[in-house]
């Protein structure tokens, strides 16, 4: 039975470098976490880079804590919001983060259903990104409440006032959509982690780590029965998560389009928000992938093909979003509605016009570069584009939230929103929180699914057989 003896070795495909065995990938990825053979001990300096990055971002986290304490003490007036512009940065950030929190589940769920092989090596960290982004997004509605200590009144629970949430409000839908989304994404992520946690358990040297990972692994043995149920459950989760992804940002879009404000009240919003979400999401995936593969030498796992495909998705989203922008303008003028037309003209020429044109450039013009294969396969270009798209999408949210409100129906009520210093503090420190969480993640959990990579090695090896 000699032919059984030699191990499967990856022949080298666009998605996976050559010469990797199941053991090899396991050691490589687990190494990053367990510090054995990982970059933490290797010659080049991922270690201190990571440390300093962690410190800096932690500073940001502390700032966020301090700022929110002060916010809860003094009141939401710290932000630049007013009447008529009652929603400001907080809501913009919320939508932006939620959007970023979309790519992860999209990749792991939809690409899984579509049997996209390039999903394998990016889904894990993309899901982590999703979790963190969605979590941070969840903070902002609470920050922006007038009386945050009563935030729980939005939940249905038995109370001596015999009162309930008001189910017609999109904000209540939000609560349900986002908490569901967080929970399901968490489950999805965790279920995906179980076999890897087992691997870590079995590779870990110290008793402490074995115990920690072991408990989290729930005693996973790689039993064939486990694998069977596991795969069914995972597939079902993917099936459930797919409509969920779409629904969440649809609900977020409804926060606006349910309203009657010109600039909010538009039927294009749900699809156009979902596309925007994926747009920023994939931008963030690329933004994260590039340093990861660079610092941890993951070029064989996160290959140029991965980046290229992500870039293609981004390009598609950009086109969809551009269509959204166009249709907004078209419907405004086609409707002949004074208020819509005024709002649109104000977008073009009003006081927020510079922001508008900048994000038009970032979200519509810049991504067109990606039509060129050379651009798609050029890492620096991709990094710049994805960063611009992230910024652009934030500005888009800002303009939608603020500019629509500042001049709506009665001219007498028109007003101006100017961000206060606190608006900026909260935006920047929330980014710091995201970075911090992500750094912790790559340090303590495998950023790529080892089990699936082993499968991939085997799969590619067998395909390569004559």
């Amino acid at each position: 039975m000699a032919e059984h003896e030699e191990k499967a070795v990856s022949p080298g495909t666009p998605e996976l470098g050559a010469g990797w065995t199941a053991g090899g990938v396991t050691d490589k990825i687990a190494g990053v976490v367990l510090g054995r053979g990982g970059p933490w001990t290797r010659g080049w300096h991922a270690h201190w880079r990571w440390r300093s990055a962690l410190l800096i971002s932690f500073g940001g986290v502390l700032t966020l804590l301090a700022a929110s304490t002060w916010l809860f003490m003094r009141g939401v007036g710290l932000f630049g919001v007013n009447i008529p512009v009652a929603w400001g940065f907080a809501l913009g950030n919320f939508v932006w983060w939620i959007g970023i929190g979309h790519a992860g589940t999209f990749i792991s769920a939809i690409l899984l259903l579509l049997r996209q092989r390039w999903r394998t090596s990016i889904n894990r960290y993309a899901e982590a990104m999703t979790l963190f982004a969605a979590g941070i997004a969840g903070l902002f509605p609470i920050f922006h409440l007038g009386r945050p200590w009563f935030a729980y009144w939005l939940l249905p629970y038995p109370n001596r006032m015999e009162l309930w949430p008001q189910w017609r409000s999109p904000l209540v839908w939000d609560i349900f959509a986002i908490s569901t989304y967080l929970l399901v994404s968490l489950l999805f992520w965790y279920v995906g982690l179980i076999p890897d946690l087992a691997s870590l358990r079995d590779k870990a040297a110290s008793r402490g780590k074995r115990l920690g990972y072991g408990i989290l692994a729930l005693g996973w043995r790689g039993d064939a029965r486990h694998w069977r149920h596991y795969e069914t459950a995972y597939l079902l989760l993917a099936g459930l998560a797919t409509p969920l992804v779409v629904s969440v940002h649809t609900v977020v879009a409804l926060d606006f389009s349910i309203g009657n404000t010109p600039g909010y009240h538009s039927t294009i919003f749900p699809p156009y928000f979902v596309a925007g979400a994926l747009f920023s999401g994939f931008a963030m995936v690329i933004t994260l992938a590039i340093p990861l593969r660079h610092y941890f030498r993951l070029h064989d796992f996160i290959t140029l093909r991965h980046l290229e495909l992500a870039a293609k998705v981004m390009l598609a989203c950009s086109l969809f979003v551009a269509y959204g922008y166009a249709s907004e303008i078209f419907t405004a003028y086609y409707s002949g509605d004074t208020y819509e037309i005024h709002m649109t003209q104000d977008r073009f020429t009003g006081m927020y016009a510079p922001v508008y044109w900048v994000y038009m450039f970032c979200n519509v013009v810049v991504p067109q570069l990606l039509w060129w294969r050379r651009a798609r396969r050029n890492v620096p270009t991709l990094l710049v584009v994805s960063l611009l798209v992230n910024a652009g999408m934030w500005m888009e949210r800002f303009v939608i939230v603020v500019q629509s409100l500042h001049a709506d129906y009665l001219p007498s009520a028109w007003g101006v929103f100017l961000p206060s210093v606190w608006d900026w503090v909260f935006l920047l420190s929330s980014i710091a929180l995201f970075v911090w969480l992500f750094l912790m993640f790559i340090r303590y959990l495998p950023m790529i699914s080892m089990a699936e990579m082993r499968g991939l090695v085997q799969e590619t090896a067998e395909e390569a057989k004559p």
Binding site: L145, G146, Y409, L410, S412, A413
Partner: protein
């Protein structure tokens, strides 16, 4: 703070308003308990019942007292609502001719001044706290010396005085010190007018307008609708004349947009000199002017002659009313024209100003000579003829023309005594300062603009130990201290020369109940002196300077006592919507010529004042070009933290000519490059192609419909069992006086947030008065805008906690204690009438708690609020009706804004009852709802303004 609070409490206790203190504690406890989390055992509370219950008072039930507030010395009748002895709200007194049930912004805001913890509290001597007794001692010696000199060095300075008691006391003093003089300082008044009247009538005479008889009114910069002693009445009368047949017409010539211009059929922006020219032309056309005015060619001549024909057509039913900014010559012309038009005794009554009685040898009385002006006093002070100067409730150091330099004169007075509500500029410059009691704290009496006498009845013991002017004068005259109460009663006992005590008491009680103690006598008209009428007019004005400054009374802060009032400070000016500030108002062209934008600081200099003053400009459409209007009353250095350090003091540039302080001066304007950030509440005054305000033409009044067709709805209309509350606002009657806004603020415990927050767009007024510049003439349209109480309220659907919902009578209710502050409702409100507590705006000063309306929740930080249709008044009325077992009647519920409106522009009631006033108003063809296309189905609707084509003076409408 405690130091400030202590007196409040003790005085309150003294008169047994412990129920009030209980509420104070309650509110303070509440704010403490509510702040932060919503849980935790409430702090233990005390209940302090009365020792003996005052009759007619039940804790928790409001009691109304009739009293009088003073406006430039004249009385305006009010009803003061007290809750357990604490005055909390002011309404108009229907029985009083100057009110007829309405109250203006200043009267409404008086409640805040009454409770103002920054009011003066102690007798001061040379800046050091002193006592009443020490003052008495030194006063005794001082008056001893004066008595020796027959009062040669004694001077009395007061504002205009109408109080019979006070006049009598002044009379006594003048009798006792023959050499003493009484001077009157009236910064808000118009010396030119007084001078003209003096020439024509030989004595102090004021015109009393009877606009209900007027059909054609020509206003030349006149502040007909206030804020003034007769503003409410004029507004009321003119609007009645407007509602009548034929519809009354108003032509307004204005140097800066005023309230008359907004209701005018034709409004024309002119400089004061231009207006005088117009008067000249009218006079010569009517042949009452010897000087043949040069006929200016062009359009002006054209419309002036049209105007002239209209005026003479309405013989005896027209009125030509000149304002403060015009010269005394112009006032003379106006009198002549009115005489020729037969208006005297019909639309304009010249009535003599009351003077102190001067006892004659035979025991009868004669009128003392008219008081002298400020100029004479300053002259005397400079000459060192003044040893003792008593200043009653005046602040000449601040509000006298800069040219007079009153302060320097004052420094030469041996013994200067100032009496006032605040330790203002004059208080600091005088040897003595006496804290004065507020009108609502001490007994007095006053005559209204038409001579009706009413009682000034205190509704609470002096909160900060103030004294009444009567007591001080009694001191001066007789070295004794009778209480103001005794003095006033004595005065009327004499006036009625009644010895029957019982009869007197009965009549006194009656007077207290009605507020009016003596009706106006109609026979007080003063005949005009024919000779003076024929006399040669003084020379017309010289060549008009390139830029002329007009010193105007501020719309809100008319007297120094109102300057420390946050409500008035934060009340947006009708046209500029500026708060907490005054601005140099200029026209667009003038601004263009100097390249100025709103807020640019300019230096204004005049010949006399080369250093001049720095003032930020505000560009006003409809401002006469070449005229810069400088509102007075700002740039205070003393007198309270709210008053101090805001705006600029325009008095500096004010000049004096032969004793008259002028209301205009030639100035030069130079940009400085500095910029000042104003806190304005409305930034866009164009209509941007929308129709929130509408107008129908007069003759289509019953034909054409102002309303849009109601869009269809997917749902059947809701059926309401009980009353369905609704409101209409008549845009044709609204004069934009802001009274409703302040009434709402007082009724609903609405906080003021300060200039910084206003600048951030966070003002809290539930009732905002939008202004739209409908046409280039700058003739504006006001629109009171509060929650519209939509049937299909967009705010309600989006509230996640159901904090805003509909009640079974169709009110759009805001439940503060349920609100978590997502502000989604405000986003979704197309009218943007919701207000949010971004910070803890509620005033936690105990005085504020005592002032607060106990029937309205004091809102916590982070909750949304808005107009409730005065739901507390609705429940009160409902409960009373239920107790009597009867249904609610139309008029049982009167909202605060409706109650205070001088022109009855606002009508509230049950729309389900077809006979209610509001239903009848909604039946009008002028009835429309704002933004009807959104299908919000508002309960508040507006009556379109009426456009009277024939009334216009424009070419095309002619003939």
């Amino acid at each position: 703070m405690r130091r400030l609070v202590a007196p409040t409490a003790s005085t309150a206790a003294a008169i047994g308003v412990d129920g009030g203190r209980r509420r104070v504690l309650k509110l303070m406890a509440a704010s403490a308990a509510l702040a932060g989390s919503g849980c935790g055992q409430p702090p233990p509370e005390k209940i302090r019942p009365y020792v003996n219950m005052p009759e007619g008072m039940a804790p928790g039930d409001p009691v109304f007292y009739a009293s009088t507030l003073l406006r430039q010395g004249c009385g305006v009748g009010v009803l003061v609502e007290t809750e357990s002895g604490r005055p909390i709200k002011i309404e108009g007194n229907p029985a009083h001719p100057a009110s007829l049930g309405a109250a203006d912004a200043q009267s409404q805001a008086a409640i805040l001044t009454l409770w103002d913890p920054e009011r003066s509290r102690t007798v001061m001597r040379g800046g050091q706290p002193s006592t009443w007794t020490t003052l008495l001692d030194s006063l005794a010696t001082q008056m001893g010396q004066e008595a020796a000199a027959r009062g040669g060095g004694l001077r009395l300075l007061s504002g205009p005085v109408s109080s019979p008691t006070l006049l009598a006391q002044i009379g006594e003093i003048l009798a006792r010190f023959p050499e003493a003089r009484w001077h009157v300082h009236d910064p808000a008044g118009c010396d030119a007018a007084k001078h003209a009247a003096l020439q024509l009538f030989g004595g102090p005479v004021q015109p009393l307008y009877r606009l209900e008889h007027a059909h054609t009114v020509l206003s030349l910069d006149a502040e007909l609708f206030g804020p003034s002693a007769d503003g409410l009445r004029n507004a009321h009368d003119f609007m009645n004349a407007r509602r009548g047949e034929p519809r009354a017409r108003m032509y307004a010539l204005e140097s800066t947009p005023g309230l008359c211009g907004a209701v005018a059929d034709t409004r024309i922006a002119l400089s004061p000199a231009g207006m005088e020219a117009v008067l000249d032309m009218i006079a010569s056309q009517l042949g009452v002017s010897d000087a043949m005015a040069e006929q200016r060619p062009g359009p002006q001549a054209a419309w002036v002659s049209r105007l002239c024909t209209r005026l003479s057509a309405a013989h005896g039913a027209s009125a030509v009313i000149p304002g403060h900014s015009l010269s005394s010559r112009a006032h003379l012309l106006a009198w002549r024209i009115n005489t020729r038009l037969g208006n005297l005794g019909r639309t304009i009554h010249p009535i003599a100003q009351r003077l102190p009685p001067a006892p004659l040898a035979d025991g009868t009385h004669d009128a003392a000579p008219a008081p002298e002006g400020l100029g004479a006093l300053v002259q005397a002070m400079h000459d060192g003829d003044v040893q003792t100067l008593l200043m009653l409730d005046v602040n000449p150091v601040y509000d006298s023309p800069g040219a007079l330099d009153f302060a320097r004169g004052l420094s030469r007075v041996a013994c200067s005594i100032h009496m006032g509500l605040y330790r203002d500029e004059t208080a600091h410059a005088s040897n003595w300062h006496i804290p004065m009691a507020h009108e609502l704290e001490a007994w007095s009496d006053a005559r209204s603009f038409d001579g009706t006498a009413s009682l000034v009845q205190p509704v609470i013991a002096p909160l900060y130990g103030g004294l009444s002017a009567h007591e001080v004068l009694d001191m001066l005259a007789h070295m004794r201290t009778r209480s103001a109460h005794e003095l006033v009663r004595a005065q009327w006992r004499n006036a009625w020369n009644m010895n029957d005590a019982e009869e007197f008491e009965r009549r006194w009680e009656e007077a207290l109940r009605r507020g009016v103690i003596e009706e106006a006598q109609a026979d007080r008209l003063v005949p005009i002196d024919e000779k003076a009428l024929k006399a040669r007019l003084p020379e017309g004005p010289g060549p008009e300077p390139q830029l002329i400054a007009v010193f105007a009374n501020d719309h809100n802060i008319v007297s120094c006592n109102q300057a420390n009032n946050a409500w008035l400070q934060e009340l947006p000016r009708p046209y500029t919507k500026i708060t907490w500030d005054n601005a140099a108002l200029i026209g667009p062209a003038t601004a263009g010529r100097h390249g100025l934008r709103n807020g640019d600081v300019v230096s204004l200099t005049s010949a006399d004042k080369p250093d001049g003053l720095l003032a930020p400009v505000w560009i006003v459409p409809g401002q006469a070009e070449g005229v810069v209007t400088l509102p007075l009353g700002y740039g205070r250095h003393q007198g309270g933290s709210v008053a101090q350090g805001r705006g600029f003091d325009a008095h500096v540039l004010q000049e004096v000519r032969n004793g008259m302080s002028l209301r205009s001066a030639a100035v030069q304007l130079r940009p400085t490059g500095q910029h000042h950030a104003f806190a304005a509440t409305q930034h866009e005054m164009g209509l941007a192609g929308r129709e929130p305000v509408r107008s129908v033409s007069l003759h289509a009044r019953d034909g054409a419909d102002a309303a849009d067709a109601a869009p269809p709805s997917l749902y059947p209309p809701r059926q309401y069992g009980g009353p369905a509350w609704g409101m209409t606002v008549d845009l044709d009657a609204c004069i934009g006086c802001n009274a409703c806004a302040i009434a709402c603020q007082a009724e609903n415990n609405i906080p003021s947030v300060g200039p910084e927050e206003v600048a951030r767009g966070r003002e809290m007024h539930w009732m905002r008065i939008d202004v739209y510049h409908a046409d280039s003439g700058g003739r504006a349209q006001f629109q009171p805008m509060a929650c519209q109480h939509c049937e299909n309220a967009p705010c309600e659907i989006v509230c996640p906690v159901g904090a805003t919902m509909h009640d079974s009578e169709g009110l759009n209710v805001q439940v503060y204690n349920r609100c978590v502050g997502t502000r989604f409702c405000s986003n979704n409100c197309p009218y943007k009438v919701r207000r949010f507590n971004f910070f803890d705006y509620a005033d936690h000063d105990p005085s504020a708690a005592a002032r607060a309306n106990p029937d309205v929740t004091v809102r916590q930080r982070g909750v949304m609020e808005k107009c409730t249709y005065c739901v507390q008044r609705i429940s009160h009325a409902r409960i009373e009706a239920q107790k009597q077992g009867r249904p609610l009647r139309d008029g049982d519920v009167v909202t605060a804004c409706e109650a205070t409106c001088p022109t009855q522009a606002i009508v509230f009631g049950d729309t389900a009852d077809p006979r209610s006033r509001v239903s009848r108003a909604k039946a009008s063809a002028r009835n429309y709802t704002v933004l009807a296309e959104l299908n919000t189905r508002p309960r508040t609707s507006y009556l379109a303004r009426i456009h009277d084509k024939e009334a216009g003076l424009e070419e095309e409408d002619d003939g």
